[in-house]
């Protein structure tokens, strides 16, 4: 049969960021897809040669606007493990709380974008209305809505008072109740089930062979979650990775819906367990220059992220590298797109939650 090539992107209504897929079609069916990235490469990793290691954290958290907190945290955790700095306990708990709030923020953003992609614009607005309240919590506690700049090597810059933490928890629980109603739309609406159910099925075996990470892998029934390794005080929190078995687009939506509830529960546990009081130590400042290299793994909203940092004893690092979750999920995405209908391509691409700025840096 005659083949047609249709370029999907870099500008497309469902794509928040530029990526190109050259879709090779036979009739309406995709037989192959060739991805091209490189539209928003900014060379941020190269900047370690010009920016001192103490200030590089501000560059790293600008890799991406949605995972900004976790990027800053990952960089600081890497440097702390190289320089053997012990982070004060309250600072670690605060990092955990902010990290989980940023996961809620990211999932709400994505659920909105997903709803917009399958044509449910009303739902998109409701998700983003809730996300706005999360951003307000960020602005109150960190000073910035998207770029937080509270992570420092050896701790955090700002404290949240106990009264404010309690208020945040009350607000999040109200939000959680409201979110349950919105979540029921995603999981029960027949038009959504019709649009997403059974589309883009990734079996558990395929998920393992293409090395997917994060919600993408969990939607195929693989209980992988970097938080299970217990670093950054996650060993003191009770949780089980959320898995679904269907592996289709709907399962990927449901995993993220349930993770929002899980994050609120984690924040509740963290606020219970953290040391209370005013004026507790928040930061152990680094002394001297780092020597050595390290790998750090974190669970970002989109999955596992790996940071490699190599320091050579000067105030400039020798190498900084981030392997982001979207980069790990792109091979699975290409596999899913092959064989599907052209009209399903936007949903499949969006349900891996692509973050192209992270991938290209």
């Amino acid at each position: 049969m005659k083949r047609t090539v249709i370029p999907f992107g870099p500008q497309h209504p469902v794509l928040p960021e530029p990526i190109v897929l050259d879709l090779i079609l036979e009739d309406e069916r995709v037989v192959d897809a060739v991805p091209t990235i490189g539209y928003i490469h900014r060379g941020l990793e190269m900047m370690v040669e010009r920016v001192e290691y103490t200030e590089m954290g501000f560059v790293v958290e600008r890799i991406c606007g949605i995972c900004s907190f976790m990027h800053g945290m990952g960089y600081c955790v890497s440097l702390e493990s190289i320089m053997k700095i012990e982070v004060p306990e309250r600072a670690q708990w605060l990092r955990l709380i902010w990290a989980e709030i940023s996961r809620i923020q990211s999932h709400l953003l994505w659920l909105g974008l997903g709803a917009d992609a399958f044509g449910f614009e009303n739902l998109f607005m409701h998700c983003w209305r809730m996300r706005e309240e999360i951003l307000d919590i960020f602005e109150k506690t960190t000073g910035g809505r998207v770029i937080h700049s509270v992570n420092r090597i050896g701790g955090v810059k700002r404290d949240i008072s106990d009264a404010e933490l309690a208020a945040i928890l009350v607000r999040l629980e109200e939000l959680g109740k409201e979110f349950k109603k919105t979540a029921s739309v995603f999981s029960t609406d027949p038009s959504i089930a019709h649009r997403l159910g059974g589309v883009g099925v990734l079996t558990a075996e395929e998920a393992l062979t293409t090395a997917t990470v994060g919600p993408m892998a969990r939607a195929s029934g693989i209980a992988t979650d970097t938080r299970l390794n217990g670093a950054n005080l996650y060993n003191q929190i009770e949780f089980q990775p959320i898995t679904e078995t269907a592996g289709d687009c709907l399962a990927r939506v449901v995993v993220r819906l349930r993770e929002v509830d899980q994050s609120i529960d984690m924040i509740r546990q963290a606020i219970d367990k953290m040391p209370k009081g005013e004026g507790l130590a928040l930061e152990n400042k680094p002394r001297g220059n780092p020597v050595g290299e390290t790998f750090t793994r974190l669970e970002q909203p989109r999955g596992e992220v790996v940071y490699y940092v190599k320091a050579n004893g000067t105030k400039y690092l020798e190498r900084f590298r981030a392997r982001t979750p979207t980069f790990a999920n792109v091979p699975a995405m290409i596999q899913l797109v092959k064989g599907c209908e052209l009209a399903d391509v936007p949903n499949i691409i969006l349900t891996i939650d692509p973050c192209i700025s992270c991938t290209e840096r």
Binding site: E55, M56, F58, R62, L123, G143, S184, V185, P190
Partner: protein, 140 residues
């Protein structure tokens, strides 16, 4: 199932009919910034001793300080409002205000193509008059 008709959006839609919109009528209605929000970097020329520490630590290289010429200058549009300079300033000359930065238009670009948002502070005082006998010269 709680909602046998599968119309989970209906309660929310009815509430939306009777409640105020979630959005604000910006720019007529502006939400006040939260306390502690990072907005604009502010500088007090009277207390600065031109130690250049803020210039060295600025990750965006937005600050230029000249000890000889007694100039402290900032490119407000390059500043990323991270707050590092406020932390390192020993003389507490720098502070972060909650107001967002002034938005410039292209018509404000200078005749030599100067970028809008470039601001300079000079302290000429201790260059002009000779120091009176018995008093120490100004700390540099």
């Amino acid at each position: 199932m709680a909602n046998p008709l599968k119309l989970p959006m209906v309660p929310r839609a009815l509430r939306n009919l009777l409640s105020r919109p979630a959005t604000r009528r910006y720019p007529y209605e502006i939400r006040p910034r939260f306390v502690g929000a990072r907005g604009t970097l502010e500088f007090d020329v009277e207390t600065c001793n031109y130690c250049t520490l803020c210039m060295k630590r600025c990750p965006a290289a937005a600050i230029t300080v000249s000890r000889e010429d007694r100039i402290w200058a900032i490119e407000q549009l390059t500043c990323i409002a991270c707050g590092v300079c406020v932390d390192v300033c020993a003389k507490k000359s720098l502070s972060m205000s909650v107001d967002s930065r002034h938005v410039h238009t292209m018509s404000e670009v200078g005749p030599q193509g100067q970028r809008p948002g470039h601001e300079e502070w000079h302290k000429p005082a201790d260059v002009a008059p000779a120091p009176v006998a018995g008093t120490a010269p100004a700390e540099s």
